[in-house]
Symmetry: C3
């Protein structure tokens, strides 16, 4: 795990746009941590995001019986697609991030992202900010943590 950015260097990782933020992360950056820091620093009520890049994803498959994610780590994939959302749970940012990554044979893997480190390239994230503070809570029917819009 590379050294994390200091508070001083962090502001140069994103810029404000008419609809939210555009974030560009570089080799060694921890994507989920950077998004969580953005949510706190900019006091984002909730947001949706899309992205692309190159990196080392860890996917997890949701098992509704055990209520856990079975993880698997991959290295050096073109991140063909990233989609997700930012909300809050227990006073902290709660991300939901899915992706598709493809190897040098263009063969993809995909699913729910548990972790993602930027590889020898970048990750570009477009964050569209919403104006209502939204939270995640457990759906009693299946144990999944679900975004509330009520």
């Amino acid at each position: 795990m590379p050294a994390q950015p200091t508070a001083q260097s962090a502001p140069t990782k994103y810029t404000r746009t008419p609809t939210g933020f555009l974030m560009v992360l570089r080799q060694g950056d921890n994507v989920l941590q950077e998004l969580e820091q953005l949510a706190v620093r900019e006091n984002i009520p909730s947001a949706s995001l899309t992205g692309l890049g190159f990196g080392h994803p860890t996917f997890g498959f949701w098992n509704a019986q055990t209520k856990t994610y079975a993880p698997k780590a991959f290295r050096d994939l073109e991140l063909a697609s990233l989609t997700g959302s930012i909300a809050w749970k227990d006073g902290k940012p709660a991300l939901h991030l899915h992706g598709v990554g493809a190897d040098k044979e263009f063969k993809p893997v995909g699913g729910h992202l548990l972790a993602l480190e930027v590889g020898t390239g970048s990750v570009e994230l477009t964050i569209v900010v919403h104006d209502q503070k939204l939270s995640r809570a457990e759906d009693p029917r299946n144990g999944a943590t679900v975004l509330g819009v009520e």
Copy 2:
């Protein structure tokens, strides 16, 4: 097929955002039907959408010779990516929705979505609304139903 939501329960499935709507569907919901209901209820002229979730997609592959989609149904996939658009045809909402779903080995399938039911989790959809009413019409060169922006 689960019971469809009543008009009374439906408003709690989405919230308005500065750029459109954020919809969160839950176990058993019919994604295409919910989007069509949203288009009618909120009188959406046209829109683009992205999303993620967990569910049971039916994909169809477009055959320009027969002008049909060859369908195949899958169950319990992490929906790694959803992208689409909302427009109108013959006075009714006309959706175009593509997606990628991955199984517990993180192996994906993808393509044009003919149907999608939410599984043991949720589906989050970010809908960016446009201000012009747009329609779909057949492209005489290949029989495909194509969104018109003229």
Copy 3:
């Protein structure tokens, strides 16, 4: 390679939206060229995009050692996802476009798009425009061309 659209026909390929542009390309259109023309004609400072469609993609896998993309061309794929960004380099539009395409067995390939021609259908692109002019430059650590947001 089909004949390219003339300047006269091009304006009918997209419409303005509250957040940017919605572009619909048709059989034979060159997706990257159309996006570059849009960037120049509409003087787009920078933008993010998502999309879907049907076409013939050429993917390239980034090799940080050789600083080149190993290309591979595919035909007749449902474009399950397209994500990207528009910026500038040396006074010209500089695109970054990733995608996932799936064949008639719904089996996907994906990665960084070097080229994309529309097939027997369409490609729909939603372009969210930002207000700052952004440029790409080489990251000296890995040779990748990276979007600058500083």
